[in-house]
Protein backbone atom coordinates (compact mmCIF):
# COMPACT_ATOMS: atom_id res chain seq x y z
CA UNK A 1 0.00 0.00 0.00
CA UNK A 2 2.76 2.44 0.98
CA UNK A 3 4.66 1.55 -2.18
CA UNK A 4 1.63 2.08 -4.42
CA UNK A 5 0.98 5.51 -2.92
CA UNK A 6 4.60 6.47 -3.48
CA UNK A 7 4.56 5.26 -7.08
CA UNK A 8 1.34 7.18 -7.75
CA UNK A 9 2.75 10.36 -6.24
CA UNK A 10 5.97 9.95 -8.23
CA UNK A 11 3.99 9.43 -11.42
CA UNK A 12 1.89 12.48 -10.63
CA UNK A 13 4.96 14.69 -10.02
CA UNK A 14 6.70 13.54 -13.19
CA UNK A 15 3.72 13.77 -15.53
CA UNK A 16 2.69 17.22 -14.23
CA UNK A 17 6.27 18.51 -14.48
CA UNK A 18 6.84 17.01 -17.93
CA UNK A 19 3.69 18.45 -19.48
CA UNK A 20 3.84 21.71 -17.54
CA UNK A 21 4.80 23.87 -20.55
CA UNK A 22 1.44 22.92 -22.12
CA UNK A 23 -0.46 24.55 -19.27
CA UNK A 24 1.49 27.81 -19.17
CA UNK A 25 1.28 31.14 -20.97
CA UNK A 26 2.95 31.16 -24.37
CA UNK A 27 4.62 34.42 -23.40
CA UNK A 28 6.47 32.94 -20.43
CA UNK A 29 8.66 30.00 -21.34
CA UNK A 30 10.93 28.41 -18.73
CA UNK A 31 10.50 31.52 -16.61
CA UNK A 32 11.66 33.86 -19.38
CA UNK A 33 9.38 36.53 -20.84
CA UNK A 34 9.05 35.95 -24.58
CA UNK A 35 7.72 38.91 -26.63
CA UNK A 36 4.91 38.15 -29.11
CA UNK A 37 7.35 38.40 -31.99
CA UNK A 38 9.25 35.32 -30.79
CA UNK A 39 6.47 33.16 -29.35
CA UNK A 40 6.52 30.88 -32.39
CA UNK A 41 10.32 30.64 -32.66
CA UNK A 42 10.97 27.05 -33.76
CA UNK A 43 13.86 26.69 -31.30
CA UNK A 44 11.49 27.42 -28.41
CA UNK A 45 8.93 24.93 -29.67
CA UNK A 46 11.68 22.32 -29.97
CA UNK A 47 13.03 23.15 -26.52
CA UNK A 48 9.62 22.59 -24.96
CA UNK A 49 9.04 19.21 -26.56
CA UNK A 50 12.59 18.10 -25.73
CA UNK A 51 12.02 19.06 -22.10
CA UNK A 52 8.89 16.89 -21.99
CA UNK A 53 10.65 13.90 -23.58
CA UNK A 54 13.77 14.07 -21.41
CA UNK A 55 11.79 14.54 -18.22
CA UNK A 56 9.45 11.63 -19.02
CA UNK A 57 12.39 9.33 -19.83
CA UNK A 58 14.34 10.30 -16.71
CA UNK A 59 11.23 10.15 -14.55
CA UNK A 60 10.24 6.71 -15.80
CA UNK A 61 13.80 5.51 -15.12
CA UNK A 62 13.46 6.67 -11.50
CA UNK A 63 10.09 4.89 -11.14
CA UNK A 64 11.43 1.69 -12.73
CA UNK A 65 14.42 1.70 -10.38
CA UNK A 66 12.07 2.16 -7.46
CA UNK A 67 9.79 -0.70 -8.58
CA UNK A 68 12.78 -2.94 -9.31
CA UNK A 69 14.18 -2.29 -5.86
CA UNK A 70 10.79 -3.08 -4.31
CA UNK A 71 10.46 -6.39 -6.20
CA UNK A 72 14.03 -7.52 -5.63
CA UNK A 73 14.59 -6.66 -2.02
CA UNK A 74 11.03 -6.66 -0.61
CA UNK A 75 11.99 -3.93 1.91
CA UNK A 76 10.16 -3.03 5.12
CA UNK A 77 7.59 -0.21 5.14
CA UNK A 78 10.05 2.07 6.88
CA UNK A 79 12.60 1.60 4.13
CA UNK A 80 9.97 2.13 1.44
CA UNK A 81 9.04 5.48 2.97
CA UNK A 82 12.71 6.48 3.12
CA UNK A 83 13.57 5.47 -0.44
CA UNK A 84 10.22 6.75 -1.68
CA UNK A 85 11.16 10.18 -0.31
CA UNK A 86 14.58 9.95 -1.92
CA UNK A 87 12.99 9.04 -5.26
CA UNK A 88 10.62 12.03 -4.97
CA UNK A 89 13.46 14.41 -4.19
CA UNK A 90 15.45 12.95 -7.08
CA UNK A 91 12.55 13.50 -9.49
CA UNK A 92 12.12 17.09 -8.30
CA UNK A 93 15.86 17.87 -8.46
CA UNK A 94 16.03 16.35 -11.94
CA UNK A 95 13.17 18.48 -13.23
CA UNK A 96 14.54 21.64 -11.61
CA UNK A 97 17.95 20.98 -13.14
CA UNK A 98 16.44 20.52 -16.58
CA UNK A 99 14.37 23.67 -16.09
CA UNK A 100 17.44 25.69 -15.01
CA UNK A 101 19.40 24.58 -18.05
CA UNK A 102 16.61 25.65 -20.41
CA UNK A 103 16.02 28.88 -18.50
CA UNK A 104 19.66 29.92 -18.85
CA UNK A 105 19.87 28.98 -22.54
CA UNK A 106 16.69 30.87 -23.35
CA UNK A 107 17.74 33.98 -21.36
CA UNK A 108 21.00 34.01 -23.29
CA UNK A 109 19.30 33.81 -26.68
CA UNK A 110 16.97 36.59 -25.68
CA UNK A 111 19.82 38.80 -24.47
CA UNK A 112 22.30 38.23 -27.29
CA UNK A 113 19.70 38.49 -30.04
CA UNK A 114 17.98 41.47 -28.35
CA UNK A 115 14.45 40.16 -28.73
CA UNK A 116 12.79 43.14 -27.08
CA UNK A 117 14.79 45.99 -28.56
CA UNK A 118 13.12 48.49 -30.86
CA UNK A 119 9.68 47.67 -29.48
CA UNK A 120 7.60 49.71 -27.08
CA UNK A 121 6.98 47.98 -23.76
CA UNK A 122 3.59 48.63 -22.22
CA UNK A 123 1.82 47.74 -19.00
CA UNK A 124 -1.94 47.44 -19.17
CA UNK A 125 -4.36 48.05 -16.32
CA UNK A 126 -8.10 47.55 -16.42
CA UNK A 127 -9.68 50.13 -14.14
CA UNK A 128 -12.68 47.86 -13.48
CA UNK A 129 -10.69 44.66 -12.84
CA UNK A 130 -11.34 44.58 -9.08
CA UNK A 131 -15.05 45.22 -9.53
CA UNK A 132 -15.32 42.24 -11.85
CA UNK A 133 -13.15 39.95 -9.74
CA UNK A 134 -15.37 37.30 -8.15
CA UNK A 135 -13.41 35.64 -5.37
CA UNK A 136 -15.10 33.79 -2.54
CA UNK A 137 -15.56 36.09 0.46
CA UNK A 138 -13.20 35.50 3.37
CA UNK A 139 -16.06 34.31 5.57
CA UNK A 140 -16.02 31.03 3.59
CA UNK A 141 -12.56 30.46 5.04
CA UNK A 142 -13.25 31.80 8.53
CA UNK A 143 -16.35 29.69 9.27
CA UNK A 144 -14.57 26.30 8.88
CA UNK A 145 -12.21 27.46 11.64
CA UNK A 146 -15.05 26.88 14.09
CA UNK A 147 -14.64 23.12 13.60
CA UNK A 148 -11.09 22.77 14.97
CA UNK A 149 -11.82 25.37 17.68
CA UNK A 150 -14.87 23.43 18.86
CA UNK A 151 -13.09 20.07 18.64
CA UNK A 152 -10.03 21.47 20.42
CA UNK A 153 -12.10 22.74 23.32
CA UNK A 154 -14.14 19.54 23.39
CA UNK A 155 -10.93 17.47 23.48
CA UNK A 156 -9.65 19.43 26.45
CA UNK A 157 -12.92 18.96 28.37
CA UNK A 158 -12.52 15.18 27.85
CA UNK A 159 -8.87 15.30 28.91
CA UNK A 160 -9.29 12.99 31.95
CA UNK A 161 -10.86 10.16 29.95
CA UNK A 162 -8.24 10.15 27.17
CA UNK A 163 -5.58 7.39 27.02
CA UNK A 164 -1.97 8.10 28.03
CA UNK A 165 -0.70 7.95 24.46
CA UNK A 166 -2.13 10.31 21.86
CA UNK A 167 -1.81 9.37 18.17
CA UNK A 168 -0.12 12.12 16.17
CA UNK A 169 0.67 10.30 12.96
CA UNK A 170 -1.23 7.87 10.77
CA UNK A 171 0.14 5.37 8.27
CA UNK A 172 -1.23 5.04 4.76
CA UNK A 173 -3.31 2.05 5.89
CA UNK A 174 -5.27 4.25 8.28
CA UNK A 175 -3.64 2.87 11.45
CA UNK A 176 -2.05 5.31 13.87
CA UNK A 177 1.70 4.71 13.88
CA UNK A 178 3.09 7.69 15.78
CA UNK A 179 2.20 8.59 19.37
CA UNK A 180 3.01 11.31 21.90
CA UNK A 181 2.66 11.47 25.70
CA UNK A 182 -0.70 12.85 26.74
CA UNK A 183 -0.46 16.58 27.45
CA UNK A 184 -2.60 19.64 26.94
CA UNK A 185 -0.56 20.33 23.86
CA UNK A 186 -0.55 16.88 22.23
CA UNK A 187 -4.32 16.65 22.70
CA UNK A 188 -4.84 19.96 20.87
CA UNK A 189 -2.00 19.68 18.36
CA UNK A 190 -4.23 18.45 15.53
CA UNK A 191 -6.78 21.28 15.85
CA UNK A 192 -3.90 23.76 16.14
CA UNK A 193 -2.30 22.49 12.95
CA UNK A 194 -5.67 22.63 11.21
CA UNK A 195 -6.05 26.24 12.32
CA UNK A 196 -2.59 27.12 10.98
CA UNK A 197 -3.47 25.55 7.62
CA UNK A 198 -6.85 27.26 7.50
CA UNK A 199 -5.21 30.56 8.40
CA UNK A 200 -2.77 30.09 5.56
CA UNK A 201 -5.55 29.41 3.06
CA UNK A 202 -7.49 32.43 4.33
CA UNK A 203 -4.36 34.52 3.88
CA UNK A 204 -3.95 33.27 0.31
CA UNK A 205 -7.54 34.11 -0.54
CA UNK A 206 -7.25 37.66 0.74
CA UNK A 207 -3.79 38.17 -0.80
CA UNK A 208 -5.19 37.08 -4.16
CA UNK A 209 -7.67 39.95 -4.00
CA UNK A 210 -4.75 42.39 -3.79
CA UNK A 211 -2.56 40.67 -6.36
CA UNK A 212 -1.82 42.71 -9.46
CA UNK A 213 -3.53 41.70 -12.71
CA UNK A 214 -1.34 40.79 -15.66
CA UNK A 215 -3.16 41.92 -18.77
CA UNK A 216 -1.42 41.35 -22.08
CA UNK A 217 -1.21 44.34 -24.35
CA UNK A 218 -2.01 42.46 -27.58
CA UNK A 219 -4.86 40.45 -26.05
CA UNK A 220 -6.33 42.79 -23.52
CA UNK A 221 -9.88 41.49 -23.43
CA UNK A 222 -8.99 37.83 -23.67
CA UNK A 223 -6.25 37.90 -21.06
CA UNK A 224 -8.51 39.87 -18.72
CA UNK A 225 -11.28 37.27 -18.96
CA UNK A 226 -8.76 34.47 -18.48
CA UNK A 227 -7.27 36.19 -15.43
CA UNK A 228 -10.67 36.74 -13.87
CA UNK A 229 -11.54 33.07 -14.40
CA UNK A 230 -8.16 31.88 -13.13
CA UNK A 231 -8.54 33.85 -9.94
CA UNK A 232 -12.10 32.68 -9.38
CA UNK A 233 -11.03 29.04 -9.81
CA UNK A 234 -8.00 29.59 -7.56
CA UNK A 235 -10.29 30.85 -4.84
CA UNK A 236 -12.57 27.82 -5.25
CA UNK A 237 -9.60 25.46 -5.15
CA UNK A 238 -8.51 27.02 -1.86
CA UNK A 239 -12.03 26.51 -0.56
CA UNK A 240 -12.09 22.83 -1.59
CA UNK A 241 -8.74 22.35 0.19
CA UNK A 242 -10.02 24.12 3.32
CA UNK A 243 -13.13 21.95 3.51
CA UNK A 244 -11.23 18.70 2.81
CA UNK A 245 -8.55 19.49 5.40
CA UNK A 246 -11.19 20.48 7.94
CA UNK A 247 -13.12 17.23 7.43
CA UNK A 248 -10.08 14.93 7.50
CA UNK A 249 -8.44 16.57 10.51
CA UNK A 250 -11.81 16.85 12.25
CA UNK A 251 -12.41 13.15 11.77
CA UNK A 252 -8.94 12.25 13.06
CA UNK A 253 -9.41 14.46 16.12
CA UNK A 254 -12.73 12.72 16.82
CA UNK A 255 -10.99 9.34 16.72
CA UNK A 256 -8.58 10.60 19.39
CA UNK A 257 -11.37 11.80 21.65
CA UNK A 258 -13.73 8.88 21.01
CA UNK A 259 -11.65 5.90 19.81
CA UNK A 260 -14.74 3.68 19.65
CA UNK A 261 -15.90 5.37 16.42
CA UNK A 262 -12.48 4.68 14.93
CA UNK A 263 -12.03 1.92 12.42
CA UNK A 264 -9.06 1.76 10.11
CA UNK A 265 -11.46 1.19 7.22
CA UNK A 266 -13.21 4.51 7.77
CA UNK A 267 -9.89 6.30 8.26
CA UNK A 268 -8.64 4.80 5.02
CA UNK A 269 -11.81 5.89 3.22
CA UNK A 270 -11.38 9.41 4.59
CA UNK A 271 -7.71 9.57 3.54
CA UNK A 272 -8.34 8.21 0.05
CA UNK A 273 -11.38 10.44 -0.37
CA UNK A 274 -9.20 13.37 0.68
CA UNK A 275 -6.48 12.47 -1.83
CA UNK A 276 -8.96 11.97 -4.67
CA UNK A 277 -10.69 15.29 -4.02
CA UNK A 278 -7.40 17.22 -3.76
CA UNK A 279 -5.68 15.58 -6.73
CA UNK A 280 -8.89 15.77 -8.78
CA UNK A 281 -9.33 19.49 -8.12
CA UNK A 282 -5.67 20.21 -8.83
CA UNK A 283 -5.91 18.25 -12.08
CA UNK A 284 -9.07 20.11 -13.10
CA UNK A 285 -7.41 23.42 -12.20
CA UNK A 286 -4.34 22.53 -14.25
CA UNK A 287 -5.93 20.98 -17.32
CA UNK A 288 -9.15 22.95 -17.68
CA UNK A 289 -8.07 26.33 -16.36
CA UNK A 290 -4.29 26.35 -16.85
CA UNK A 291 -1.88 28.96 -15.58
CA UNK A 292 -3.51 32.41 -15.73
CA UNK A 293 -6.52 30.75 -17.39
CA UNK A 294 -4.64 30.07 -20.63
CA UNK A 295 -6.59 26.84 -21.22
CA UNK A 296 -9.92 28.67 -21.24
CA UNK A 297 -10.66 29.66 -24.81
CA UNK A 298 -12.25 33.04 -25.28
CA UNK A 299 -12.83 34.66 -28.65
CA UNK A 300 -12.51 38.41 -28.78
CA UNK A 301 -11.74 40.97 -31.42
CA UNK A 302 -8.51 42.66 -30.57
CA UNK A 303 -6.93 45.54 -32.42
CA UNK A 304 -3.36 44.61 -33.25
CA UNK A 305 -0.88 47.30 -32.25
CA UNK A 306 2.35 47.14 -34.24
CA UNK A 307 5.64 47.30 -32.39
CA UNK A 308 4.04 47.13 -28.94
CA UNK A 309 4.88 44.35 -26.49
CA UNK A 310 4.26 43.61 -22.82
CA UNK A 311 6.67 45.07 -20.29
CA UNK A 312 9.70 42.86 -19.67
CA UNK A 313 9.73 41.97 -15.95
CA UNK A 314 12.56 39.45 -16.14
CA UNK A 315 14.70 41.54 -13.81
CA UNK A 316 12.27 40.89 -10.95
CA UNK A 317 12.30 37.12 -11.47
CA UNK A 318 15.38 35.36 -10.15
CA UNK A 319 15.87 32.25 -12.31
CA UNK A 320 12.27 32.79 -13.36
CA UNK A 321 11.16 31.24 -10.09
CA UNK A 322 11.54 33.77 -7.29
CA UNK A 323 9.82 37.14 -7.59
CA UNK A 324 11.47 40.07 -5.84
CA UNK A 325 9.95 43.49 -6.47
CA UNK A 326 10.08 46.01 -3.63
CA UNK A 327 7.75 48.44 -5.39
CA UNK A 328 4.97 45.98 -6.13
CA UNK A 329 2.46 45.94 -3.24
CA UNK A 330 1.24 42.45 -4.27
CA UNK A 331 2.16 39.74 -1.80
CA UNK A 332 0.97 36.90 -4.04
CA UNK A 333 1.77 36.82 -7.74
CA UNK A 334 1.04 34.28 -10.45
CA UNK A 335 3.90 31.87 -11.00
CA UNK A 336 5.87 32.02 -14.21
CA UNK A 337 6.83 28.37 -14.33
CA UNK A 338 4.21 26.28 -12.60
CA UNK A 339 0.52 26.33 -11.91
CA UNK A 340 -0.58 28.64 -9.16
CA UNK A 341 0.92 31.38 -7.09
CA UNK A 342 4.15 32.43 -5.44
CA UNK A 343 5.05 35.14 -2.92
CA UNK A 344 6.76 38.44 -3.66
CA UNK A 345 9.99 38.19 -1.67
CA UNK A 346 10.46 41.94 -1.99
CA UNK A 347 7.40 42.51 0.21
CA UNK A 348 7.65 42.60 4.01
CA UNK A 349 4.34 40.76 4.28
CA UNK A 350 5.80 37.68 2.57
CA UNK A 351 8.59 37.46 5.13
CA UNK A 352 6.18 37.90 8.03
CA UNK A 353 3.96 35.21 6.54
CA UNK A 354 6.80 32.74 5.94
CA UNK A 355 8.25 33.46 9.40
CA UNK A 356 4.92 32.79 11.08
CA UNK A 357 4.36 29.64 9.05
CA UNK A 358 7.76 28.05 9.69
CA UNK A 359 7.76 29.32 13.27
CA UNK A 360 4.50 27.50 14.01
CA UNK A 361 5.64 24.31 12.27
CA UNK A 362 8.92 24.35 14.19
CA UNK A 363 7.12 25.06 17.46
CA UNK A 364 4.75 22.12 16.97
CA UNK A 365 7.67 19.85 15.99
CA UNK A 366 9.75 20.85 19.03
CA UNK A 367 7.01 20.72 21.64
CA UNK A 368 5.61 17.36 20.52
Amino acid sequence: MTAIIFILILLFIIVIQAFLPKFLKASEVFGVYIPDTHVNDSRIVKMKSRYTKVLLTGGMAIILFFIGWLLLLRPSDQHIVLLGMVAQILAVVFSIGLYAKNHITLSNWKKTEKWTSGQIERKVVDLQFREQLKLLPNIFFILPMLVPITLGIYGLTQYETLPGQIPIHWGPDGEADGFAEKSWFSVSSLPLMTLVLQGMLLFFNSAMKQSGSKIQVQQKKRSREQQLAFRKYSSWLLFVVTISVTLLMGYLQLTIIAPEIMSSGVTLAFTIGFLIVILGSVLYYTVIVGQSGTRISITTHEINQKGVIDADDDKYWKMGLIYINKDDPSILVEKRFGIGWTVNMGHKGSWIFLGLLFGTIALIAIVL
Binding site: E121, L127, Q128, Q210, I215, V217, D327, P329, S330
Partner: protein, 129 residues
Protein backbone atom coordinates in the same frame (compact mmCIF):
# COMPACT_ATOMS: atom_id res chain seq x y z
CA UNK B 1 -11.50 50.86 -19.40
CA UNK B 2 -7.90 49.95 -20.13
CA UNK B 3 -4.94 52.14 -19.31
CA UNK B 4 -1.60 51.61 -20.99
CA UNK B 5 1.63 52.77 -19.42
CA UNK B 6 5.08 52.98 -20.97
CA UNK B 7 7.73 52.71 -18.29
CA UNK B 8 10.49 53.88 -20.63
CA UNK B 9 8.63 56.92 -21.93
CA UNK B 10 9.93 60.44 -21.32
CA UNK B 11 6.50 61.31 -19.89
CA UNK B 12 6.53 60.52 -16.14
CA UNK B 13 4.34 57.55 -15.21
CA UNK B 14 2.10 59.52 -12.88
CA UNK B 15 1.40 61.97 -15.71
CA UNK B 16 0.57 59.11 -18.09
CA UNK B 17 -1.96 57.88 -15.55
CA UNK B 18 -3.44 61.36 -15.15
CA UNK B 19 -3.68 61.97 -18.88
CA UNK B 20 -5.33 58.66 -19.64
CA UNK B 21 -7.90 59.00 -16.89
CA UNK B 22 -8.79 62.51 -18.09
CA UNK B 23 -8.97 61.21 -21.64
CA UNK B 24 -11.28 58.43 -20.51
CA UNK B 25 -13.52 61.05 -18.96
CA UNK B 26 -13.46 63.19 -22.12
CA UNK B 27 -14.32 60.18 -24.26
CA UNK B 28 -17.10 59.09 -21.96
CA UNK B 29 -15.48 55.76 -21.05
CA UNK B 30 -15.44 57.08 -17.49
CA UNK B 31 -18.42 58.90 -16.01
CA UNK B 32 -18.92 60.91 -12.83
CA UNK B 33 -19.53 58.46 -9.97
CA UNK B 34 -17.54 55.61 -11.56
CA UNK B 35 -15.09 54.08 -9.14
CA UNK B 36 -11.37 53.75 -9.71
CA UNK B 37 -9.08 51.12 -8.14
CA UNK B 38 -7.59 51.77 -4.72
CA UNK B 39 -4.03 53.08 -4.64
CA UNK B 40 -2.75 49.68 -3.52
CA UNK B 41 -4.66 47.73 -6.18
CA UNK B 42 -3.68 50.14 -8.93
CA UNK B 43 0.00 49.98 -7.95
CA UNK B 44 -0.17 46.17 -7.80
CA UNK B 45 -1.69 46.02 -11.29
CA UNK B 46 1.11 48.25 -12.56
CA UNK B 47 3.73 46.41 -10.50
CA UNK B 48 4.92 49.86 -9.51
CA UNK B 49 5.33 51.92 -6.37
CA UNK B 50 2.23 53.20 -4.58
CA UNK B 51 3.74 56.72 -4.53
CA UNK B 52 3.32 56.91 -8.30
CA UNK B 53 -0.41 56.21 -8.10
CA UNK B 54 -0.77 58.48 -5.07
CA UNK B 55 0.84 61.33 -6.96
CA UNK B 56 -1.49 60.81 -9.92
CA UNK B 57 -4.57 60.66 -7.69
CA UNK B 58 -3.60 63.80 -5.76
CA UNK B 59 -3.05 65.63 -9.00
CA UNK B 60 -6.49 64.57 -10.25
CA UNK B 61 -8.07 65.39 -6.91
CA UNK B 62 -6.62 68.89 -6.98
CA UNK B 63 -8.16 69.47 -10.40
CA UNK B 64 -11.48 68.09 -9.09
CA UNK B 65 -11.60 65.19 -11.51
CA UNK B 66 -11.72 62.55 -8.79
CA UNK B 67 -12.79 62.33 -5.17
CA UNK B 68 -10.82 60.29 -2.65
CA UNK B 69 -13.16 59.14 0.12
CA UNK B 70 -11.49 57.51 3.09
CA UNK B 71 -12.39 53.81 3.30
CA UNK B 72 -14.90 54.07 0.43
CA UNK B 73 -12.32 54.44 -2.31
CA UNK B 74 -11.73 56.64 -5.29
CA UNK B 75 -14.52 57.85 -7.56
CA UNK B 76 -14.80 60.17 -10.53
CA UNK B 77 -15.88 63.56 -9.17
CA UNK B 78 -19.47 64.66 -9.72
CA UNK B 79 -17.92 67.81 -11.16
CA UNK B 80 -15.57 65.81 -13.38
CA UNK B 81 -17.55 67.04 -16.37
CA UNK B 82 -18.28 70.72 -15.70
CA UNK B 83 -18.31 74.17 -17.16
CA UNK B 84 -14.81 75.61 -17.01
CA UNK B 85 -14.43 78.15 -14.24
CA UNK B 86 -12.17 81.17 -14.60
CA UNK B 87 -9.50 79.30 -12.65
CA UNK B 88 -9.82 76.23 -14.91
CA UNK B 89 -9.52 78.43 -17.94
CA UNK B 90 -6.45 80.14 -16.57
CA UNK B 91 -4.77 76.86 -15.78
CA UNK B 92 -5.43 75.46 -19.24
CA UNK B 93 -4.07 78.62 -20.79
CA UNK B 94 -0.88 78.20 -18.76
CA UNK B 95 -0.53 74.56 -19.72
CA UNK B 96 -1.18 75.15 -23.41
CA UNK B 97 1.29 78.04 -23.63
CA UNK B 98 4.48 76.00 -24.12
CA UNK B 99 2.78 73.82 -26.71
CA UNK B 100 1.59 76.83 -28.69
CA UNK B 101 5.06 78.36 -28.39
CA UNK B 102 6.54 75.17 -29.81
CA UNK B 103 4.02 75.27 -32.67
CA UNK B 104 5.05 78.85 -33.46
CA UNK B 105 8.70 77.82 -33.53
CA UNK B 106 7.69 75.20 -36.06
CA UNK B 107 6.17 78.04 -38.09
CA UNK B 108 2.62 76.78 -37.82
CA UNK B 109 -0.06 79.31 -38.67
CA UNK B 110 -3.05 80.02 -36.43
CA UNK B 111 -5.19 78.11 -38.93
CA UNK B 112 -2.95 75.07 -38.74
CA UNK B 113 -3.00 75.10 -34.95
CA UNK B 114 -6.80 75.37 -35.02
CA UNK B 115 -6.97 72.43 -37.41
CA UNK B 116 -4.75 70.40 -35.10
CA UNK B 117 -7.06 71.07 -32.15
CA UNK B 118 -10.06 70.17 -34.28
CA UNK B 119 -8.46 66.88 -35.28
CA UNK B 120 -7.83 66.00 -31.64
CA UNK B 121 -11.41 66.81 -30.70
CA UNK B 122 -12.84 64.62 -33.47
CA UNK B 123 -10.50 61.85 -32.41
CA UNK B 124 -11.61 62.06 -28.76
CA UNK B 125 -15.28 62.16 -29.69
CA UNK B 126 -15.07 58.99 -31.73
CA UNK B 127 -15.75 56.49 -28.99
CA UNK B 128 -14.01 53.75 -30.88
CA UNK B 129 -12.16 52.33 -27.89
Amino acid sequence: MFIEIEANSSVPIYLQLVQQIIEGLAKGSLKPGDSLPSVRAFAADLGMNMHTVNKAYHYLEEKEFIRIVQKKGVVIHAKGIREASAADRNRLKQELRPIVAEALCLQMSQEEIKLLVKEIITDLKEKSL
